[in-house]
């Protein structure tokens, strides 16, 4: 009897349709595109700022266009989803052992959310929102 194993390839472009958990993973990966695009927007803003007051005003005006507002809302949702899934994952990457037990995972993720809230508050204060 000969050995002739059958190899079943993993479809290289459609594998993530196989399982809802793969779709969840890919949706998180896709959020990076929005986060990256927003970073590019910030760099363009810096460039406009360096170009002078006229260029800066034009940039601010462009930010208020409907298309820009839709993009910013999408980027915000993507960034929040990306950050939340990241914080939820931290408990896996950095378990804290105390004696024979481990600090509950929710506490580790919760600490990240708390730090996020505090830092966001500091940024908003520095930006003069309050």
């Amino acid at each position: 009897m000969s050995r002739r194993p059958l190899v079943r390839e993993c479809p290289p472009t459609t594998w993530y349709f196989r399982q809802p958990r793969y779709m969840r993973y890919m949706s998180r990966e896709i959020t990076s595109i929005f986060v990256g695009a927003y970073c590019v927007l910030l760099v363009v803003g810096l460039q406009r700022l360096a170009d002078g007051p006229m260029a800066w005003e034009g940039f601010l005006l462009a930010l208020q266009s409907p298309a820009s507002i839709v993009f910013q809302i999408l980027a915000l949702v993507a960034a929040v989803y990306h950050a939340a899934t990241w914080f939820n994952a931290t408990q896996k990457a950095m378990p804290i052992q105390i004696g024979e037990g481990f600090v509950p995972g929710k506490l580790i993720s919760g600490a990240h959310y708390a730090a996020w809230a505090v830092l966001s508050l500091i940024v908003l204060i520095l930006a003069g929102v309050f």
Partner: protein, 250 residues
């Protein structure tokens, strides 16, 4: 005593005979099962009463040996741990994904076995001492540091769940890397530097993109995703010490 409830179960099983087939095909079986049975019981009934040519692996029937891993409705499962009551309609049974199919539901685990060897999943004592000096002692806290990762039953469900392994077969994969972590975390072990030769490479932890499917399907609650992320952190720290600190050695 109340008689056990019976149910007609329809199984759609992937068949492949290397002697006669060029590709696999599905075969439908209808078999009367008891409601409390698991998919493995249904397969045993098929083999005993309907089709003795059906091939699959199993041994303990109690989710300990790790032999009976299969794709059940597309999900990697131990067939002895997949209760019929949790399934409706036709139950599709396939061999574990990402492994070559030897025959029917039997896969070839050679690749996993080879990778397992490469990570040296055994104790490499920090200090060798003669038996006369007694055992290597460990506190309960030191045991708890790695205990979870020692529960792996080598069932390979995590490999079948990991798309990264399916797409890049050179990836060492979840179970083998987790076992490397298990020994790295052991206070009696001194083999981490040797294992890093395999662990801290592109084929090692850096091929993992943290899909997390390995931990979701693990029947022994080992959490390989956790082990791999921890190894990424320690490997990164090694790199920082080696490259950014003058005279630093990981």
């Amino acid at each position: 005593m109340t008689p056990l409830k019976e149910r007609l179960v329809q199984l759609e099983v992937l068949r492949y005979n290397p002697d006669t087939d060029t590709e696999a095909h599905f075969q439908r079986y209808e078999v009367v099962c008891q409601e409390e049975w698991v998919v493995l019981d249904a397969l045993n009934k098929v083999k005993a009463d309907i089709d003795p040519t059906l091939n699959y692996r199993w041994s303990c029937h109690m989710a300990v040996c790790g032999s009976c891993g299969m794709m059940i409705n597309g999900e990697p499962k131990l067939s002895c741990h997949a209760f019929l009551r949790d399934y409706e309609g036709v139950i599709r049974v396939e061999p574990l994904a990402h492994f070559p199919v030897e025959r029917d539901l039997v896969t070839a685990p050679d690749d996993f076995m080879e990778k397992l060897k490469r990570v040296k999943p055994y104790m490499i004592p920090k200090e060798k001492k003669p038996i006369s000096e007694g055992e290597y002692k460990q506190t309960p806290a030191q045991l708890m540091k790695f205990r979870q990762y020692s529960m792996c039953i080598n069932c390979m469900l995590c490999y079948a769940a990991c798309p990264q392994y399916g797409l890049t077969p050179s990836f060492i994969g979840p179970a083998a890397l987790t076992l490397a972590h298990r020994y790295n975390q052991d206070s009696r072990d001194g083999g981490r530097a040797e294992r890093q030769e395999v662990v801290a490479t592109h084929e090692g932890v850096w091929e993992c993109t943290f899909v997390g499917a390995c931990s979701e399907v693990c029947p022994a609650q080992v959490d390989p995703a956790s082990a791999l992320q921890q190894m990424k952190i320690t490997s990164s720290l090694d790199w920082i010490v080696e490259h950014l600190i003058p005279g630093g050695k990981p």
